[in-house]
């Protein structure tokens, strides 16, 4: 039960990361590797601000803002300096590694001694449960802290998803979607596509950094290595979500990305439980994304060939 609770919570936190990747990868058709750096940036900024005594909510929002700036820089490199999208992301990601070390001052910042969102959740939970540290859920004893954090995560993710859905239906959000769909068309409607890419990548990485800030508070530390492979993780979530909802409209995609992230986290947790070597995790994630990207095309080809034969 604790494993399930933890997986659900981390899955939800990474659901926000998946929403960020959905924006760059599916709305803008932009494989944005900045994510690997900006999730750590979010964790680093939040950790350092918490150590300085900032309230957890403010520290988390500041982290999101920092991520937004990082994403905007990638967008500027791409849109204004005409650097290839992938390379823009690589440049910013690489630069962020040093920036993150500078911010944290060392490679790992523990958050055990400060008030984080997790402590806030615990306080609130204890108030609700009447001071008991654990409650019984369907026959399992569950720490109140974990349960409240999960509740917080559900509410937070639902709120962010709702806001993102509303945003994508505003004129600005619509213009952003059109920029990814057909830049020539939206340019002919008088929209600066470069600006849309800069703002869109900013929003995407703000969500990613937010996710990193919450993750750091949940696990109790920020680490300069925590971002490695996170973009692939986000891609896996988005792709899995797509196969779950099977529709490309923004509303479905948002729900899909979150459920994809949770499901993917659960699968990984189960695999680890059944003895998978944690060192193989990134390899398996990459193979999963590879398969998810390639298999539909292969299936189409096989299907078409079979169809062709049937007609002949």
């Amino acid at each position: 039960m604790n494993l399930l609770l933890g997986s659900l919570t981390i899955g939800l936190i990474l659901g926000v990361l998946a929403l960020g990747v959905y924006i760059s990868f599916r709305i803008f058709n932009f494989a944005d590797i900045t994510v690997d750096g900006s999730i750590t940036l979010g964790a680093a900024v939040a950790a350092v601000l918490l150590l300085r005594g900032w309230p957890p909510v403010l520290a988390t929002l500041a982290a999101a803002l920092a991520g937004g700036v990082a994403g905007a820089v990638t967008g500027i490199l791409h849109a204004k300096f005409r650097i290839h999208g992938l390379l823009s992301g690589i440049l910013v990601m690489t630069a962020l590694y040093s920036v993150n070390l500078r911010i944290m001052g060392r490679s790992n910042v523990p958050l055990l001694s400060v008030t984080t969102l997790a402590e806030r959740a615990e306080t609130l939970g204890l108030a609700c449960s009447g001071g008991r540290a654990a409650v019984w859920v369907w026959g399992w004893e569950v720490p109140v802290r974990d349960l409240m954090f999960l509740a917080f995560s559900v509410a937070g993710v639902a709120l962010i998803a709702g806001l993102l859905y509303l945003f994508l239906n505003t004129r600005l959000g619509t213009a952003m979607r059109a920029t990814g769909d057909n830049p020539q068309m939206i340019c002919a409607q008088g929209v600066d596509t470069g600006l849309m890419i800069i703002l869109g990548l900013g929003l995407s990485n703000a969500l990613v950094a937010f996710s990193g800030a919450v993750l750091a508070q949940y696990q109790g530390f920020a680490d300069v290595q925590m971002g490695i492979g996170m973009v692939v993780w986000g891609l896996a979530s988005v792709i899995m979500g797509e196969s779950l909802v099977r529709a490309r409209r923004p509303g479905f995609m948002i729900v899909g990305a979150i459920f994809g992230a949770v499901l993917f986290r659960l699968l990984v947790a189960i695999a680890l439980r059944f003895g998978m070597n944690p060192n193989d995790l990134k390899l398996i994630t990459a193979l999963f994304v590879f398969a998810a990207l390639v298999l539909p095309g292969v299936a189409d080809r096989v299907f078409k060939r079979a169809g062709g034969r049937a007609h002949a």
């Binding site: 945003f167 239906n169 505003t170 004129r171 600005l172 959000g173 619509t174 213009a175 979607r177 059109a178 769909d181 057909n182 020539q184 068309m185 939206i186 340019c187 002919a188 409607q189 008088g190 929209v191 600066d192 596509t193 490309r248």
Partner: protein, 270 residues
């Protein structure tokens, strides 16, 4: 009105692929006038349209539109004044978005996109009315993705989008060339209807002689990056397809003559 002065553009300069697309093109289009541009392949007619739209920076020349010098304006800034329909029916609409969303963006052409709701109800009702007037049955499919429509339907919608806010200039770049004859006919009829109804200043490139003869109140013929022939008023009304084709033949003969003379010179002196 549009005033184009001495436009020059060379693509891939100083390379074997050098193309002198525009070699000093000047023309004026009066307000409310409908100008048809014809020309041989590679004559620079589409380049002229793209130059006006701001797709690429010019080597030289100036463009004035609606009393403003737009020469240094970016493409998206000029879009506030210009409505465009492209040759490729896939270019003018966003395929993954709905008919209503596409129209909504066109209804805000030239405005900075803000955080307002993209599809307010009254706008949706207006869309349904206008789309119904196309008589393509699309008014019930406003929430369908445009990618599911045929080329003719998409081109008709693009035309509607380009003219939703009355543009100072409407640019039509062989907008029926990629369509089947029946759809092309429908789109041309719609073009005629929209342009005459709103008295739109229009610049239309075409390679269909029937369109060149039947549409517009003046005509420009281009060849090798220059305007070689211009017709207006009574001359334009009287011109027949045969006259235009004869003119093209003449141009082609001149070219061959030039080529012949060049080879003669080369043979004698080199």
């Amino acid at each position: 009105m549009l005033d184009v002065r001495d436009l020059r553009k060379t693509f891939f300069p100083d390379t074997p692929n050098e193309v002198r697309a525009l070699q000093g093109v000047s023309c004026q289009i009066l307000e409310g006038s409908f100008v048809v541009v014809i020309g041989t392949n590679g004559s620079g007619k589409s380049t002229l349209l793209n130059a006006v739209a701001g797709t690429f920076p010019l080597d030289a020349g100036a463009i004035t539109l609606a009393g403003q010098d737009v020469t240094g304006w970016s493409e998206h800034r000029r879009a506030a004044l210009i409505g465009r329909v492209f040759q490729n029916p896939f270019s003018g609409t966003a395929p993954g978005m709905t008919i209503a969303e596409n129209l909504a963006m066109a209804a805000r052409r030239g405005h900075r996109p803000g955080l307002g709701w993209a599809l307010p109800r009254r706008l949706r009702d207006a869309f349904a009315d206008r789309v119904r007037s196309l008589r393509m049955g699309l008014e019930d499919r406003l929430d369908n993705e445009i990618g599911t429509l045929s080329g003719g339907q998409r081109q008709a919608l693009t035309l509607l989008m380009a003219t939703w806010r009355k543009p100072a200039l409407l640019l039509l770049d062989e907008h029926t060339a990629a369509l089947d004859p029946k759809s092309a006919e429908q789109v041309i009829a719609l073009t005629h209807q929209l342009v005459t109804h709103d008295h739109l200043t229009t610049l239309m490139v075409t390679h269909a002689m029937s369109q060149a003869v039947n549409l517009g109140d003046s005509l420009i013929m281009m060849h090798r990056g220059r305007i070689i022939h211009a017709l207006a008023g009574e001359d334009k009304r009287r011109v027949r397809a045969e006259d235009l084709l004869a003119r093209f033949d003449e141009v082609r003969r001149m070219d061959q003559l030039d080529a012949g003379a060049a080879s003669l010179l080369a043979a004698n002196y080199m």
